[in-house]
């Protein structure tokens, strides 16, 4: 159990960091929509629409670090398996 929790913590941390990097390593807050520029051909006005898209930010990374720390911490609640020692006497 101890090993499983630690592996989960490591997996969560690596997965979250990988996802954050893969989605553009946004150093701001997590975005749930992204602005998309649109240009009016006649007037030349540049407008903005918002597309629904999840872009994780540093708060997402922080949450992942906290969650993996909790998992890793929880692993200490489980003791090591005591293997029976063999005596040669």
């Amino acid at each position: 159990m101890r090993t499983v929790l630690r592996a989960l913590a490591l997996g969560l941390l690596i997965g979250a960091a990988g996802f954050w990097l893969a989605t553009g390593a946004n150093r701001g807050w997590t975005k749930t929509s992204v602005p998309k520029k649109i240009v009016d051909d006649v007037t030349g006005i540049e407008g903005q629409t918002y597309e629904k898209k999840f872009v994780p930010g540093v708060d997402f990374l922080a949450a992942a670090v906290v969650a993996s720390a909790v998992l890793a911490g929880a692993s200490f609640l489980f003791g090591t398996k005591n293997n029976p020692t063999q005596s040669n006497t």
């Binding site: 701001g28 929509s33 006649v42 007037t43 006005i45 540049e46």
Partner: protein
């Protein structure tokens, strides 16, 4: 008789050209592109957003651009940010309080330093900016572009003219009671505003 009538109609046409009435442009955009952008650049955080709930009317005379007057209104509940939670805070009671103060507006009363080149007029617009129920007299730079007979290209089956207004100016949070003095490391005191709007005068 026929000649007299021709002269009368020709005279009316000439007079109409000479004394063309000012046109009233409606800034409610059926395409939803009209927008007001806002940018706050604080030491710890940069906030970029926009609002597309633009309306209002402007009276513009192509022969006398300096006589332009009008009012542009932005619906506060269309202020948008990419982060939903941040947007909720911005629209909430602590910051913009959009329920209590649903409109942000600029009412232009007169133009100074008017310079016209072709269809483009630049000037300093003197008027009243209102935000969160507080009105302040301000002078802001504006650029007016008159696009004659271009409405049909923008909105099919309609005839008329377009007037594009562009402006870029700054306001201070504390002047309009926008949570003054709080969180200035993350939400800057200065708010940079960019207005890009097109109005239509249908014939």
């Amino acid at each position: 008789m026929k000649t007299q009538l021709t002269i009368v109609f020709a005279s009316i046409g000439f007079a109409t050209t000479l004394f063309a009435a000012p046109e009233t442009f409606d800034f409610k955009d059926p395409k939803g592109i009209n927008n007001a952008g806002f940018k706050l650049d604080a030491p710890l955080e940069s906030i970029n957003g926009s609002a597309n709930g633009v309306s209002g009317t402007v009276t513009f005379d192509p022969e006398h651009p300096g006589a332009t007057t009008g009012k542009i209104v932005v619906a506060a509940d269309t202020l948008t940010l990419p982060n939903t939670m941040q947007q909720g805070h911005m629209r909430g009671g602590q910051w913009m309080d959009v329920t209590k103060y649903p409109e942000i507006s600029f009412e232009e009363k007169e133009l100074h330093n008017v310079k016209t080149e072709g269809d483009v007029t630049t000037a300093d617009a003197v008027g009243t900016f209102t935000c969160k129920g507080i009105s302040k007299d301000m002078t802001v730079p504006i650029k007016l572009t008159y696009l004659k007979d271009k409405l049909g290209q923008r909105v099919p089956n309609m005839k008329g003219d377009l007037l594009v207004i562009r402006s870029n100016f700054s306001i201070k949070r504390s002047d309009f009671n926008i949570n003054p003095g709080k969180f200035e490391d993350k939400v800057s005191e200065e708010i940079n505003l960019t207005l890009s709007v097109a109005g239509a005068s249908a014939q």
